[in-house]
């Protein structure tokens, strides 16, 4: 499942390179680069991670929902989930069974819904920042299958990510994405993402996106911008106002000869002791809120609401999340102690 990776070969050691002037320059260059102490900028995929967790676009739901999670083991993590959703306005009722198995380097996830569509995901972490990822959607309906292979490399001050979506080996059609993000100063990183679409072998289509990210010195705020030369701009801003309050703003502009459009979204997230509250307002007239209230560590109650003032419509969602463990309290305590022991032996960097 891994694509061949040129970075897996070990770097030349300094002692053997003294004879070659080029590699000694290279060595000095990498030393100088390490001395700059630039931070890792994070991947392009996670560019707007903070904004996405503050906004509730990815969390909102309507109708009723129930998630029952059963943990069989904590390390390695093994849990199964039964999810039910019903009564949503534009989604049929559904049942989903999911299983997760994870160790420090491996992550396996599988899901199957009541129609028999299977989703699969594998992440394998290698030494020194390399991660190989694969995900697939398998369906009986032709044309609904998806395969995505991904290789991610987190360097000292840069991130490289290569992706292939539905690659077909005989004629090399598919969608290929390559992205590169480089820290230039302690706060500023910029990079690019190239998307090559090859629906047929004769007509490849290349779209480039240019990316800039500015992180505040104390990491309490992040501003990002993405520009596509065709006329699409997305700018985001995220700030941690206090320990418990995050604020995020997002502006999307589309200015093409065919279409002119802009959406602005403002959102805030409150992390209280046993609950999380998200509120959001956008320029299409939607006001939405989501409350996640944890009554006990194993039982959470969710409430989601959205009012569209321009279309005069509303959505309401209610959900429960129940977690149970197959372990007895004594076993849990023993595992916690084991995990603490491991952490004290090799502290996280």
């Amino acid at each position: 499942m891994t694509s061949p990776n040129p970075y897996l070969s070990p770097p030349p050691s300094s002692s053997s390179t003294s004879s070659n002037p080029f590699s000694s320059y290279l060595n000095r260059f990498s030393k100088w680069r390490a001395e700059l102490g630039l931070p890792n900028p994070g991947s392009v995929e996670n560019l707007q991670k903070e904004v996405k967790t503050t906004h509730l676009t990815n969390y909102a739901f309507d109708g009723g929902r129930a998630d029952l999670t059963k943990s069989m083991s904590m390390s390695p993590l093994f849990q199964v989930t039964h999810s039910f959703a019903l009564g949503a306005q534009n989604m049929p009722s559904s049942y989903n069974f999911g299983a997760i198995y994870a160790t420090e380097n491996v992550f396996l996830q599988g899901g199957v819904d009541h129609d028999g569509n299977v989703s699969a995901r594998v992440n394998q972490g290698w030494a020194s920042g390399h991660v190989s990822k694969a995900q697939a959607q398998l369906s009986q309906t032709p044309g609904h299958n998806l395969l995505q292979l991904e290789q991610d490399y987190n360097g000292q001050d840069f991130n490289i990510n290569l992706k292939a979506v539905n690659p077909w080996p005989t004629d090399l059609t598919g969608i290929f994405v390559g992205s590169y993000l480089q820290s230039l100063t302690k706060n500023f990183a910029c990079g690019t993402e190239l998307v090559v679409q090859r629906p047929t072998p004769s007509m490849p289509e290349i779209v480039a996106t240019y990316i800039a990210k500015y992180t505040g010195s104390d990491k309490s705020w992040i501003a990002t911008a993405q520009v596509q030369p065709a006329g699409i701009v997305q700018a985001t801003y995220w700030q941690k106002l206090s320990e418990k309050v995050d604020f995020a703003a997002d502006l999307q502009l589309v200015v093409t000869p065919m279409r002119r459009d802009a959406i602005a979204t403002l959102g805030a997230k409150y992390d209280l002791r046993l609950s999380t509250f998200r509120a959001q307002l956008d320029s299409t007239g939607k006001v939405s809120a989501l409350l996640e209230q944890r009554f006990t560590p194993t039982f959470a109650f969710l409430m989601s609401g959205e009012i569209d003032h321009f279309k005069n419509s509303a959505k309401v969602g209610v959900g429960v999340m129940i977690e149970s463990s197959a372990l007895s309290p004594e076993e849990m305590e023993m595992q916690m102690q084991q995990m603490q022991m491991q952490q004290s032996l090799n502290p996280p960097q």
Binding site: M72, S73, P76, F78, Y101, L108, G110, G116, T170
Partner: protein, 64 residues
């Protein structure tokens, strides 16, 4: 450039692999999870999670 014959064979192999993955992926995760869990869960504890899955597979076979 591979011949038409080879292309057809590759397409067939991919299709078989896809079908195998479709049916075997979740049982594989459950097998890996149960065998490597620490402590290994007893079969009684699986009762609450696995039968629903088996029932579901039955349902899935009937509908397809």
């Amino acid at each position: 450039m591979p011949s038409e014959d080879t292309k057809e064979r590759i397409a067939k192999v991919i299709d078989v692999g896809r079908t195998v993955l479709h049916y075997a992926w979740i049982p594989m995760i459950i097998y890996v999870g149960f065998t490597r869990s620490n402590p290994q869960p007893s079969l009684i504890k699986c009762v609450t999670s696995v039968p629903s899955f088996i029932l579901f597979i039955d349902f899935f076979r009937q509908t397809h």
